[in-house]
């Protein structure tokens, strides 16, 4: 896998990942396009620039850990992992089919390089804390990155984890909130509003960075700031657009969990380019 900090290279990978997401979910005829598309730049920046990892040696003890706590965005993770060389790219379109390694939600029985299986919301940040604590104990440089959904943080355990990390000053963990403002039933603000979001995390002892979650340069700077922040956990509140990159999916709650039709797939691929 070739790592890069180059913007145009990362943008090109992001475009490939967007195409994969549409094609995979289109082929599967079910899945979650909106929250996969909103997290593309976050995962691409992590996997191809920020993370210290080696797809040829996934068990490397000092690797950085990555957890997609919002497991329903599995397609973005699968595309990025395939692109990085962890898994076969030519099987991406077997998503959600019986026997496929690309299960409906990330399942480490099928992809051992996954740090944990996800899909049930609210638990991934705590698992990441266990990994971060293990790294601290071992004096390992390993950092742990956990991507959360904004709807997901309505789960109570998120705040148990937030309290623990702040109190114990776990500075080798970085949470990324994919703040796309839409959940399954509609707009987050109408279902269980999260405001004031930065203040909530800051009051739990976190260093909060607000960032445009589709601006790769801004994300790179935010991850660097997170790594340089000592004595506190960091959360990136990444402001994103659900369905980003496909006009008819953007900011449209319908595409939280509905697959595009054959015609919509073609339209979307044309738009992504």
């Amino acid at each position: 896998m070739k790592k890069t900090s180059d913007l145009s290279e990362l943008q090109a990978i992001a475009r490939t990942v967007r195409r994969d997401i549409i094609e995979m979910i289109g082929a599967a005829k079910s899945g979650h396009p909106g929250g996969s598309l909103s997290a593309v730049e976050i995962l691409v920046t992590l996997y191809f620039d920020v993370l210290q990892h080696d797809p040829a040696n996934p068990g490397w003890p000092q690797r950085d850990r990555f957890i997609l706590s919002k497991g329903h965005a599995a397609p973005v993770l699968y595309s990025v992992m395939a692109e990085a060389g962890y898994t076969p790219k030519d099987q991406l379109n077997t998503l959600r089919r019986i026997g496929s390694i690309y299960q409906g939600h990330p399942d480490r029985r099928f992809i051992p390089a996954l740090e944990t299986s996800t899909g049930s919301l609210g638990v991934g940040l705590s698992v990441g804390l266990g990994m971060a604590e293990a790294a601290r104990l071992d004096k390992s440089p390993s950092r742990t990155y956990v991507v959360l959904g904004d709807g997901e943080i309505q789960e109570g355990q998120i705040w148990e984890a937030a309290m623990y990390a702040g109190f114990h000053k776990i500075d080798n963990i970085c949470a990324i909130l994919d703040n796309n403002r839409i959940q399954l039933d509609g707009w987050v603000k109408d279902i269980m509003g999260l405001d004031p979001l930065p203040e909530k995390w800051a009051s739990f002892g976190w260093h909060v960075i607000e960032v445009d979650g589709h601006d790769i340069v801004a994300l790179q700077a935010a991850f660097a700031e997170a790594a340089a922040t000592k004595g506190k956990p960091t959360i990136l509140i990444a402001n994103t657009v659900k369905g980003k990159g496909v006009s008819f999916m953007e900011d449209n709650p319908k595409y939280h969990g509905v697959a595009p039709t054959k015609e919509e797939v073609e339209l979307a691929l044309k738009e992504i380019g």
Partner: protein, 320 residues
């Protein structure tokens, strides 16, 4: 004739668990422990005092504790999490399912204050469904040691067992059944007495009550076999099948809801091997209440004399 057991009072199994953790911690710096503000009750404070940097105090947040434990275990630590059974299993169940069982994290989960023998604190703290919950987690090994000797040995065995393990521990002092030379192997039950008239199969605190029940029956010339199943999953099928074949009459006794604990699991093995007369002695479809432990155990029929009553029913059916 049945061997006589002195049944001198020993330590509570929770205390033996705490001491085993310390021994493990001294031998292996990879051992870590999490607790949720009950460390003085679960006896993990002994470990925490000696190895503060390997002890993670999670506050009153069991769900978070279980997931943190899963993360530690997934990173190669020999990780234990402990709380009362009622809390770690009920509040942590989703985490035990998704982060531990499904994700394959080899976490060791210890639930103390199991059953109704905790006494005064009452049903919110009692756990009458923990074996059922633990056995409904795919891939979990489930242990329920009867005394301090077996607890100490099985905690050590669990530490190096490759998969996730649940260990059931009790609050009150437990009679000592085993000598220091006894060997314990996960998945292998232990036959404590000989006898071909009936078999008592039990686990945890009620093993000692079954030994007393067997002694009472022996006075009438009835020879009862007593088996300690310290491993609830995987069950020792061979030992159960042999007891069914040789005695044709089984009484399963447990400090747990009778329709979802050890008994129904033993019945599955029996029906698949040597179907025979079976009776089930446990907590009926209810929660218990506050009181002195011995009062609660008596009121809810968890004593030897109650088990004898159930045994007579079984023997009458066998004769019929």
């Amino acid at each position: 004739m049945a061997a006589r057991y002195e049944l001198k009072m020993g330590a509570a199994t929770r205390e033996a668990f705490g001491k085993a953790l310390v021994a493990l911690g001294r031998a292996d710096e990879n051992v870590v422990v999490c607790d949720a503000d009950l460390s003085k009750s679960t006896f993990t404070h002994l470990f925490g005092k000696e190895f503060p940097n390997r002890f993670f105090s999670c506050g009153i947040a069991e769900a978070n504790m279980v997931s943190i434990g899963a993360g530690l275990a997934a990173s190669g630590k020999i990780a234990f999490v402990a709380s009362f059974s009622a809390f770690v299993l009920n509040k942590g169940f989703e985490q035990l399912r998704v982060n531990v069982a499904y994700s394959g994290a080899p976490l060791k989960v210890v639930g103390t204050h199991s059953g109704i023998s905790i006494g005064e604190d009452g049903p919110s703290q009692m756990s009458v469904e923990d074996l059922s919950l633990a056995c409904s987690l795919a891939g979990f090994t489930v242990l329920s040691p009867a005394d301090e000797v077996s607890m100490f040995a099985l905690v050590k065995a669990a530490a190096y067992h490759p998969g996730p393990v649940f260990i059931r521990a009790g609050r009150v002092k437990a009679p000592v059944i085993y000598g220091p030379e006894q060997e314990f192997v996960i998945g292998k039950g232990i036959q404590l007495t000989e006898g071909n008239d009936l078999t008592f199969i039990s686990t945890g605190l009620l093993v000692a009550e079954c030994l007393r029940a067997a002694e009472a029956l022996a006075a009438e010339g009835i020879a009862a076999r007593v088996i300690d199943l310290h491993t609830i999953r995987p069950l020792d099928r061979e030992l159960i099948a042999r007891a069914a074949a040789e005695t044709g009459c089984l009484v399963v006794a447990e400090e747990h809801l009778v329709d979802s604990g050890l008994g129904v699991r033993v019945a599955q093995v029996v029906s698949e091997t040597y179907p025979c007369v079976m009776e089930f002695h446990g907590i009926q479809n209810t929660y218990a209440e506050s009181g002195l432990p011995e009062e609660v155990m008596e009121k809810y029929k968890m004593t030897a004399k109650d088990i004898v009553v159930t045994a007579r029913k079984a023997l009458a059916r066998k004769k019929a």
